[in-house]
Amino acid sequence: MSDSHESKPASHAGHSAEEIDRHVRAAYYVFGSLLMLTGFTVGAYFLHLPKHLAITLALAIAVTKGTLVACWFMHLVSERKLIFWMLALTAVLFVPLLLLPTLTVADHIHLR
């Protein structure tokens, strides 16, 4: 198989050459950030912080890492509105999915 195609598409699969370069540069920055944040997460574990602080910190770092992956690796920063509407609907359904089982634990019945 040849390394390059004979009739190159002018649109670069819908992306300009500059856009692709920007995506690649961003990918390297995000990679560095993700490695650094992984180091922070593991480092925080060895600090033996109070339980609530440890949970808050670990989840905050995980959310930050997840946001970086979604925005830059999954190209959400330059995605169409329709995708955001789909994700918004998912989020609306996701929050009750997480909360409902937990709320059942908090729903204590006091017998007299």
Partner: protein, 198 residues
């Protein structure tokens, strides 16, 4: 009579997206709900258990950290594989996609050693609630890694024939496979702290 799937290369006028892109995002949304249900189960089990063991009691943090680095690296090589195609450099695509697949193998190999150590010490899903949810979450995630590797392997091998006849369509397929692979990475980013570190 040929029945070609419409809008695999050019965007649909009404959505501004290819059908493949919409399809993969709908699938990812369903995946979020699947893992969301299991994360909710984890929270419920943990909150309802008075003596939840720290992850390090049973699990190996250095190995899990290594696996985190492997998956993050594979996400970058996946982006580079797609970017290589967008720049019409098929040879580089094969290199980066090959590295992505190898990273998948690396992740599963580390997981194999982790699981083997548990079984060797007679730690099974039935041993306690923590191990039950640990094996369920990491097992399902592992199946997703295998699924992603199968798709990536197809695109690296036999599926790459499409590059010769329809390069834009092939590039879009790689982008969509990449979206799934990044979700697998995203799920691990949350699994790592909640199972191993908290």
């Amino acid at each position: 009579m040929s029945m070609e799937i419409p809008y695999t290369v050019e965007a649909r006028p009404d959505t501004g997206l290819t059908n493949g892109k919409i399809g993969i995002w709908l699938f990812l949304a369903s995946e979020v709900m699947l893992f969301g249900a299991l994360f909710a189960s984890y929270v419920m089990l943990r909150v309802g258990n008075a003596h939840w063991p720290p992850g390090a009691t049973y699990l190996n943090i250095p190995l899990a950290t290594l696996n985190t680095v492997i998956l993050i690296s594979s996400s970058v090589t996946m982006v580079l594989a797609w970017a290589s195609l967008a720049r019409h450099d098929f040879a580089k695509f094969r290199v980066f996609m090959g590295i992505t697949i190898l990273c998948g193998f690396g992740f599963l190999t580390v997981k194999y050693f982790e699981y083997s150590a548990k079984f060797h010490h007679e730690l099974f899903p039935a041993t306690n609630t923590f191990l039950a949810i640990y094996f369920t979450l990491t097992g399902l995630h592992g199946l997703h890694v295998i699924g992603g590797m199968a798709v990536n392997g197809y695109l690296w091998g036999p599926g790459s024939k499409l590059w010769k006849t329809d390069p834009v369509h092939f590039t879009n397929r790689v982008e969509n496979a990449g979206l799934f692979w990044h979700l697998v990475d995203l799920v691990w980013i949350f699994l790592f702290p909640i199972l191993y570190l908290l």
